[in-house]
Structure formats: C-alpha cells, structure tokens
C-alpha cells in the first residue's frame, strides 16, 4: 500500500498541471472563438489550381455532380 503515498501526489500533480495548461491556453485566447477555426479548415486551398478536377474538391462539393 505504500505505493499509494507516491501515486496520489503524482495524480494530483498531473491534475494540477492539466488545469494550469488549460488556464494558460484560455489566457492566450485559444477558446475565444470556437466556431471559426472549425470551419476554416474545411476548404483546402492548395488544390484550387486544379479546380476543374472534381476529385480534389470532393469533400466540399459532394452531392453536386
């Protein structure tokens, strides 16, 4: 059972560091806007030169052709 004396502080330190990481991230503004980044990645701009090639845009245009 002595292992518990080691495990519990370790668990608490883990928990504490995750909370600290979250607090830091939210101070940096990572949670200010949750909607836009999710939409931002939807359209891939690398392949737009081969725009007529439907394969490259399949994800965003599915169901149209």
């Amino acid at each position: 059972m002595n292992i518990i004396l080691f495990m519990i502080p370790l668990a608490l330190i883990f928990a504490g560091s995750f909370v600290a990481a979250f607090l830091w991230a939210s101070s940096k503004g990572q949670f200010d806007d949750l909607e836009t980044p999710a939409l931002r990645i939807l359209i891939d701009d690398k392949n737009n030169n081969t725009k007529k090639n439907d394969e490259s845009n399949e994800g965003s245009k599915c169901g149209v052709t």
Binding site: M1, I4, I8, A11, L12, A15, F18, V19, F22, L23, S26, S27, G29, F31, D32, D33, L34, E35, T36, L39, R40, L42, I43, D45, N48, N49, K51, S60, K61, C62, G63, V64
Partner: protein, 762 residues
C-alpha cells in the same frame, strides 16, 4: 409540430441557405464557378468610393482604430454564411498589399483587419461589397467581441477549476463509499477538503455577487439558495470531518456547482452572439457632410455639426440634424421616422428632420437642432428613461425559487427543533442540514438556463435573435398583437398595383426606365422591379421638373413622368407618363403586403390572438390594408406619432408589438414583448427584445411555437424537481439520507433534467 419549413441547400457548401438562389452566399458561388485565384475584384465603382472618401480622413480613422493597436481595425460584416466566406475573406491579404491579415470571427460576424499605413477604409468596404458582404467599421464601444473577452475567459477558467476539482473529489470519495476506513479514509477526505477550497473561493465567486445583489435589492434569485447550500454543505462536511464522522458532502456539492456554472456559461455565450448581431451601429451613422461656408464647400464629420451650419445634403444621405430647407424643394423619405411609406416633397422654409433620408437630389439646409435636441434625439432619451423605469419581469421559475427557499428553510428550522426535542440536537442538526443540501433548487439553477440556451439556439437557427431567455415565458402570455404597417406587414417598397391602360407598350416601359435613370426615388425602384427585363431607352436632355418628376427627349418628342394629384382617398400614389402634352398612361403605386402576411395573420387569428395595426401612415392607406387582411377596425390606429403608439400599447395588457422604425421604438420598449423585423433601424433593435432576421412574418409563428415548447419543458423540469425535492426532503428528515444517497440522487436528478430538456428541444 414542425418548427421550420425546409430550407434550400447551398450548392457548394451544402448548408441550408436562407436566400432564394442556389448558393448561400457570393463566396460559395465564386468558389463553385470560377478559378477565384485569378479573380481579382475590380473596385470600379468610383462613385461609391467617392462617397466614402471621408472615411479615409485621419479623424474618422482614429475614431475606429483599435485603441490598443494602431494598425488594427474591427469590422462588422453582414452576410457571413459558411466556411467559404471565411476562406475567401481570409485570402484578401493575398491580393491586397495594404492589408497584412484578416481574421474572421464567424460567430460574432466580426473581422479583425491588420493593415499597413496605406490602408483605406473606403476601399476595404468597397471590396467587401464586391465580395457580396455589407461591412461597417466598429468603434471601441460597439465591439462586443473585445468587450466580453475578459469576462468569457474568466468564466471559462472558473469552470475548468470547478470541473477538475469536482472530478478529483469524486475519485477520492469512491474508495470511502466502497468501505475504506482508517487513516487512508481520513487522508482521502482531507484531500477532498483541500480540493473543495478552490471551488469555494474561486469558482463560486459569481454566485456570491449574485447573492449579495439579491440581498441588497431584496429580490430573491436562485444564487442565494445556491450559496447557502454550498456553504452549509461545506461547513457541515468540515465539522463532521474534524469530528471524525462520515457525513461528508464535498462531492455532491462540488459537482452540482460545476454543472450550474457550465450551463450558465452556455446561455451567456448564446446571448452575447445575439447581442452582437442586434446592437449594431448608432441611429444616425457617423458620416461625411458637406458644409457651405464663405470659403466654399468644406466637408466635416457629422459628429462636428453645429447649430447655424449650412449643410449640403447629398442623395441617399441620412440627414444628420433638424433644420430648415434652404433649397426650393427636396424629396425626403421619412419612413424611418414616422412609418409613412410615400416620399414627401418639402418646399423652401419647411423643416427637415434628422434620421430621414434624402432622395434623388441634393439640397441645402440650415441646422437648427443637433444631437439630443432633434426629434429623433428626444425619442432616444425618452427611451432611455423608460427602460430605466420599466419594472423587471419576474419569471415563473424565480417565483417558484422564492417559494421553495421559504419552504425549505422554515421546514429545516422546524425540523431542527422537533427532532431536537424528540431525539437529540446533534442528530437534528445533521438532518436539517442534509435537507438544505439535498433540497437545493438544482432544476431551477440549471434546468432553466439550459432550456433557455437550447431554445435560444433553436430560435437563432430560424433567424430569430432573442436578447433574453425570459422572452419565451412572456410570449406565451401574449393576448394582443399589434403590427406596424410599413416594413412589417408590407414590404416597405412601392410597387405597381394597377395601371391604365391595362397593357403597357414595351417602348413606353423602356422610356420610363430611361427617364428614371439611376434615380433612387422609391418609384424608380418600383418601376425597375416591375419590368426587370426591359432595357432602358437612351434619353436625351434628361432633367428634373422640380417637385414634380422627370422629363427628357426620345426620338424627337418630349416625354415626362409626373406625379398626379389623384392620391388621397384611394390610398395609392399615382404617376402619369406624358408625351409632349398628351397623357399616355397612369400608374398606381402602393406599398404591398408581404406574400406571407395574410397566412400568418389568419393563423394567428385562428389561435385567438387579438390583432391590430398601429401605423404612422394615412388612414386611407392603413384601412385598406386592414380590410385586406381582415383586421378588426377597433384595433386599427393610423396617423400615430411615436407617443400615440406608446399610449395605445400601454392600454392593453400582455401586448406584443412588432415594428421596424424609430417611430415604433417607444412602443416596442413599453410592450410586454417588443419585436423588430428585418431591415429595421438599429434604434428599434435596441428597444426590442426580439429581432427577426428573415423577411416576412413566418418567424412570429416560429417564435410562438418555440416559446410554447420551451415553457412545456420548463414546467416538466420544475414538476420533476419539486417531486425530487419532496422525496429527498422527506428522506433527509427521516434521517435516511447519507452522503452516498446524496451522491447518487443528485447527479441522477441532474441527468434526468438534461435529458428531458434535450429530448424536448431536439
């Protein structure tokens, strides 16, 4: 009960689109059709660039500049629909050298733009327009994203701390419930105690301020019982911990606090979004006005206009001050101020009012009153006073909360003495405190905000912006609905209702369109809408007949388009087309009903709502509309001033007012529920609690349906909570509640409420 009619899907992004075309926005159309990387906006509309030139003055720029960062501006953009919009807008820096970065906030419809020193606001707005959006710069006060940023971050941190601590407390309490005893159990309980402290002293701070306000203003709110439950739970558990007893409630108390914090945050986020959409810009925009002085014409910002200035008002400009007309005549659209649909022709010496719009030609005016002294300024200040005086609405759940608190506390005090007398005071204290902890109004504290949040979101998806969750409760109480006419029942645009002779030759059509040219007179728009396919004829010597109409030469004969005096009784505005001296045709114009108005009114009437009209327009016009849609004559009020509208609304209990103009704002503010419709002036947005962003009145039916459903869910949640409190309270008084029972009962009850709410609003 189907809440929404099915919306058409955008061809590109597959999102339901509100517009009639195949695409939800121009960005999608561009991305779908052409290789947009080679597409560069032309910015060829020099006329509107010129009109916006004033935006590039240092004075204007510094007004809108981000105070903390010189090179940053914030813009509000109307028309963001989907991922394509974000994509297109954030690509702007690639083809513009004066812009270094564009950052879109989709939820708030805000752009943050980082620029170099050559940046011109006018060009940027022009660019946005070309891309299919409407933009407006936001000053520091109007920028809600930054305003709420700090608050949102703090709230999120409080939730994170509460969540982490509550989770860990639960981990440490499991072995204790499992039967662990001895020094380890004591150690685990002390760890729980330590983990509880951040919740008590950091996460719960908003509840303390709420409870303190509740005490200070003597209105009981839900925060007060939460604080009492929190602290009695804490003290009770700590005392037992010190005494070595097993009655410890840290886990239940911590988890319920975490739940309440989270649901409140959810509601706040949704409400902030709604606010940012509806509180856009002040009533009279900051604009450039030309002033005529001894040294010629100089331009100045509308903020700096003084009494005695002589101003040159350009077509389509919003008049910035009250004054008298110095030109021979002027055509003015006063529908914003008093709801009259037909344009007014004013003569020299007559007064012009701030907030009205100049139509087809520029005129001179002498300023007599500015800002708060103007007619519109007076409405604004009355509005501010009225909203301070308005009694706050006590919601059903607040009412219940008050009763619950009173009952629980008197019960626990009685129980303490009764049990104390019969058993012992030690046991009595245990049971009384257990009662307070378990009977804490959980359903009220988070079932209500959760229901509101989900309903608000649902309403938002249907194009209804709501500022406050308690609107749903008020909507259900509505008995009478008053509509404003112009822009609410009708489209606010003039269209041809009949003409004489019945068949109009194509040649005449093209001559008329040619005569109207680029005019922004409402009639010109009416003609253009009526014959969208006709090509305007080339008219020579086109000129304006002051106060009457336009004339010009075509194929050697002189044509003119003049207003005819047979308006009045019929409620129509009449225009005649003349060739030399003979009249060729008459056209009758009226402000037509929205296509869905009739159905909506019929539907509402069948649900036993009293329906009426309050309008600033002429009797004849309003009565005709009332006839068309079968409205009871007793509830039709025409030629009403803003004050009159207010009086009418005051006379009816539980009245809903729907309007769009500044003239409605007093009534909107007074009404039990005030609703402003699409295209309205921001003043009416500010004074109403609900705003419809989709044209037409179908949204009203949607709103009523959503409100009914949210009230049903609220009531079922409350019934359940009362039942749970009754059972839990009885068990606590009988001494059957121990921490394990509480740890099982409280989350289960919360979960049931969450499930019930989600199920009901799916």
């Amino acid at each position: 009960m189907e809440l929404s009619q099915s919306l058409q899907k955008c061809k590109y992004c597959q999102q339901p689109s509100r517009s009639e075309s195949d695409f939800c926005c121009q960005a999608c159309e561009l991305l779908f059709q052409i290789d947009y990387q080679s597409w560069i906006p032309k910015l060829n509309n020099t006329q509107s660039l010129k009109q916006r030139e004033y935006m590039d003055t240092e004075e204007f720029k510094s007004f809108y500049k981000n105070p903390n960062k010189e090179s940053e501006y914030t813009f509000y953009v109307e028309g963001l629909q989907c991922a394509s919009c974000i994509h297109l807008l954030e690509k702007i820096p690639e083809f513009r050298n004066d812009i270094t970065s564009v950052d879109v906030n989709f939820g708030l419809s805000i752009l943050k733009v980082n620029v170099t020193t050559d940046f011109k606001i006018s060009q940027f707005l022009e660019l946005l327009e070309e891309l299919g959006y409407k933009g407006a710069p936001l000053s520091e006060n109007e920028n809600l994203a930054d305003k709420y940023k700090a608050e949102n971050r703090t709230n999120l941190k409080r939730i994170a701390v509460a969540g982490a601590c509550a989770g860990n407390i639960m981990l440490f309490v499991v072995p204790v419930y499992g039967g662990l005893t001895g020094p380890y159990a004591t150690a685990f309980n002390w760890i729980s105690f330590v983990l509880f402290l951040p919740i008590l002293f950091y996460s719960a701070i908003p509840f303390y301020t709420g409870a303190w306000n509740s005490l200070r203003y003597r209105v009981i709110n839900v925060d007060l019982p939460i604080v009492i439950a929190l602290w009695s739970g804490f003290i009770f558990s700590t005392v037992n911990l010190v005494l070595g007893k097993s009655e410890i409630y840290y886990d239940s108390t911590a988890s319920f606090l975490f739940l309440i914090l989270s649901t409140r945050f959810l509601v706040k986020r949704i409400q902030q979004k709604t606010l940012s959409d509806s509180s856009l810009m002040s009533f009279i925009p900051v604009q450039n006005i030309e002033e005529k002085t001894e040294h010629g014409i100089v331009s100045k910002l509308s903020l700096n206009i003084k009494v005695g200035d002589t101003l040159v008002i350009q077509p389509n400009q919003i008049i910035p001050a009250d004054g008298t007309l110095l030109s021979i005549s002027a055509d003015v659209d006063i529908s914003l101020l008093n709801g009259e649909s037909l344009p007014h022709t004013l003569g020299i010496g007559m007064s012009v009012h701030a907030g009205t719009r100049c139509l087809n030609k520029s005129f001179l005016m002498k300023v007599e009153k500015v800002s708060n002294d103007t007619e519109i300024g007076k409405i604004v200040s009355t509005l501010e006073n009225d909203s301070l005086k308005k009694t706050p609405f006590v919601t059903f759940s607040e009412n219940i909360a008050q009763w619950l608190i009173a009952i629980v506390f008197s019960l626990s005090i009685i129980a303490f003495f009764v049990i104390g007398a019969f058993i012992n005071y030690d046991e009595a204290l245990n049971r009384a405190l257990a009662l307070i902890v378990i009977a804490c109004p959980c359903a009220l504290a988070f079932g209500t905000p959760l229901t509101y949040a989900l309903s608000l979101r649902k309403a938002r998806d249907l194009g209804i912006l709501i500022k406050n969750g308690n609107v749903f409760e008020k909507v259900v109480q509505i008995k009478t609905i008053f509509f404003d006419k112009t822009g609410t029942l009708t489209s606010g645009q003039l269209s041809i209702v009949s003409n004489f002779p019945c068949a109009i030759e194509d040649e005449w059509k093209s001559i008329i369109l040619g005569l109207e040219g680029k005019s922004i007179h409402p009639l010109a728009f009416g003609f253009r809408r009526a014959w969208p396919d006709t090509v305007p004829a080339e008219i020579l010597n086109q000129e304006e007949i002051i106060g009457k109409g336009v004339r010009g030469t075509f194929n050697g004969s002189e044509y003119s388009l003049e207003s005819s005096q047979s308006r009045g009784e019929s409620g129509y505005m009449c225009v005649k087309l003349k060739k030399d001296t003979s009249t060729l045709a008459y056209f009758y114009f009226a402000d037509e009903l929205h296509p869905d108005t009739k159905n909506v009114i019929k539907h509402l009437a069948s649900k036993n709502y009293e329906i009426g009209i309050i309008s600033g327009d002429k009797y004849s016009i309003v009565e005709k509309i009332a006839d068309d849609i079968n409205i009871n004559k007793d509830l039709v009020f025409a030629e009403s001033t803003p004050q009159k509208k207010l009086e009418v609304v005051k006379d009816f209990p539980f009245v809903c007012m729907i309007g769009d103009g500044a003239n409605d704002s007093l009534a909107l503010n007074q009404a039990h529920v005030g609703i402003s419709v699409k295209g309205s002036v921001s003043l009416s947005h500010n004074s109403s609690e609900v705003c419809f962003t989709r044209p037409g009145l179908q949204s009203l039916v949607d709103l009523i349906n959503i409100s009914r459903r949210s009230q049903q869910i609220l009531k079922s949640n409350l019934t359940f909570a009362l039942f749970y409190n009754f059972v839990g309270g009885t068990l606590a008084l009988l001494g059957l509640v121990n921490p394990l029972v509480a740890a099982v009962l409280m989350p289960i009850s919360s979960l049931l409420i969450v499930l019930n709410t989600y199920r009901g609003l799916k």
